[in-house]
Amino acid sequence: MIIHHPLLGPRDASEFVYLGAATLLDRPDPQTATPDDWHAYAYLRDNPAGPHRELWFHEGGDRSWLVVTRDTTTHEITDVALARDVALERRK
């Protein structure tokens, strides 16, 4: 797999470490979250067959976190964004 890094261009996936679904960006608010919220956040996954938004860490490169949209049935990557940009966009 080749991941098209927004800053560095096409990079081999073996330079990256995979964390999991991009829902991990949506951490519950510690002030209001219930144990159920934490259980769902930490342990439950959608695990779709098809497009999947997920977090990859460029460990062998610039150490940036990326949100990669990848089809889990074909491994085709359709979108790559810096996780930082995704998080900032959401805060607006």
């Binding site: 999991g20 342990y43 959608d46």
Partner: protein, 416 residues
């Protein structure tokens, strides 16, 4: 028809015209007491034990493709019960005992071969960990034997004992471990279940559950609606896809694991060798091919094929431990889809929907568990109580903190 040596002689003398199909191809009925979704090893084993041990008369197995076409035919065929934790070891030892009597139970030659498995030791810390694991195995009624370097050398003189990074210092052996002909496991369970009246319905994909007032009353399939009092799901690898039809999110990610077979070689490997430090495990099939595998690719996938970096990594692991295989050529490689759970251990439990039961999350240890998984899931389906060796495999263990995490790596499925 009962298979026997006498039967073979009789058929040989009569031109082999008496062998019939090993199971029927029935049309689905309108309603069953119990429907098992998934005609792989675990689903067929569940059906077999439902019919034989729990005396269920109205059971169907629904399979979207053909039976044995999924993970039961895509693994590295190893059986063992060398686990550490109390939630796991009694279950896997129960499974190994079922393997030992399986062929007589099924009247089918599954080529169960207890050729022994050795986990290699490379350091003092690993020896301590394996000693503890061996003791846990013995306490749970399994067999374990700690080998020093000379003992491993006697059995496998060609391993790379003097490697600079991972010198071999010994091994933890389980003599009762070994390999099984994996396709024959699916066929044997299917034939035995069918002979007791279980309907095995192939090319019948479940497309939804009919759930009314919190109770599952049947399944929508590509061959129409089929009613059921109880529905058991045993589709590890595709659990996320199937349970999404019931609006369930699972503590599971689907990952791809690759496996490999070399060209046929003369007999060289008498048992199973695992090289945990580099994550490489290998045995030799009766046809002579080296059957081996390594780590999962590490990202969510339903593709049944992996990528080249892991191929390189696995082959490097093989070369590190057995440099003599460098000239052997790969014959085949393939990928299978694993339910990687959040603690590396499986789930056999009721769901929050009445009449809907779940069996999955087998990570890459599903094959060895096949008979016990079927037995304990049948117990749960028939009696509504967990079998005593499977009480820890609950859905709510993640909520209550009772994880069964052999490696202690936490909720990171690609590290289990």
């Amino acid at each position: 028809m009962r298979y026997s040596g006498f039967r073979i002689i009789k058929e040989a003398l009569t031109g082999h015209r008496g062998w019939g199909p090993a199971w029927r191809e029935p049309e689905p009925k309108a309603h069953y007491d119990i429907i098992v979704i998934g005609g792989g090893g675990h689903g067929l084993a569940t059906a077999h034990y439902l019919a034989s041990v729990y005396q269920q008369k109205s059971v169907a197995v629904l399979e979207k493709g053909w039976i044995g076409g999924g993970n039961v035919g895509r693994n590295t065929t190893i059986i063992r019960s060398n686990y550490l934790l109390d939630g796991n070891e009694p279950f896997y030892e129960f499974s190994l005992k079922l393997w030992e009597g399986l062929e007589q139970d099924l009247n089918y030659n599954a080529m169960v071969s207890q050729r022994g498995i050795i986990n290699l030791i490379h350091s003092d810390a690993q020896r301590d960990a394996f000693t503890r694991r061996g003791n846990a195995m013995i306490l749970n009624g399994a067999d374990a034997e700690l080998l020093d370097e000379a003992a491993v050398r006697r059995e496998y003189p060609y391993l790379n004992f003097r490697d600079a990074r991972f010198p071999i210092k010994g091994g933890l052996a389980q003599r009762r471990g070994g390999t099984v002909r994996h396709d024959a496991v699916a066929w044997g369970f299917a034939r035995a279940a069918d002979s007791r009246g279980v309907d095995i319905i192939q090319n019948c994909e479940v497309t939804g559950f009919r759930i009314q007032d919190g109770t599952c009353t049947g399944v929508e399939t590509s061959r129409g609606f089929i009613g059921a009092t109880k529905v058991g799901c045993a589709v590890a690898g595709s659990s996320g896809r199937l349970m999404a039809h019931a609006d369930m999110r699972l503590p599971i990610e689907s990952h791809v694991l690759q496996a490999f077979v070399s060209e046929g070689l003369k007999p060289i490997l008498p048992g199973v060798i695992t090289f945990g430090a580099g994550h490489f495990y290998v045995s030799q099939s009766d046809k002579g091919g080296l059957v081996f595998g390594g780590d999962i690719d590490g990202y969510n996938s339903y593709a049944q094929r992996g990528n080249l970096p892991v191929v390189e990594d696995v082959c490097e692991g093989g070369m590190a431990i057995m440099p003599m295989i460098g000239r052997a050529r790969l014959l085949r490689m393939w990928g299978g889809i694993m339910d990687m759970s959040m603690d590396g251990s499986p789930i056999i439990d009721r769901t929050h929907i009445d009449g809907l039961y779940f069996n999955g999350g087998w990570c890459y240890g599903g094959f060895k568990a096949t008979p016990a998984s079927g037995y304990t899931f049948a117990h749960l389906l028939a009696t509504d109580t967990p079998h005593h060796v499977a009480t820890a495999y609950r859905f709510d263990r993640f909520r209550t903190g009772h994880m069964i995490d052999e490696k202690g790596v936490g909720n990171q499925p690609n590290l289990h």
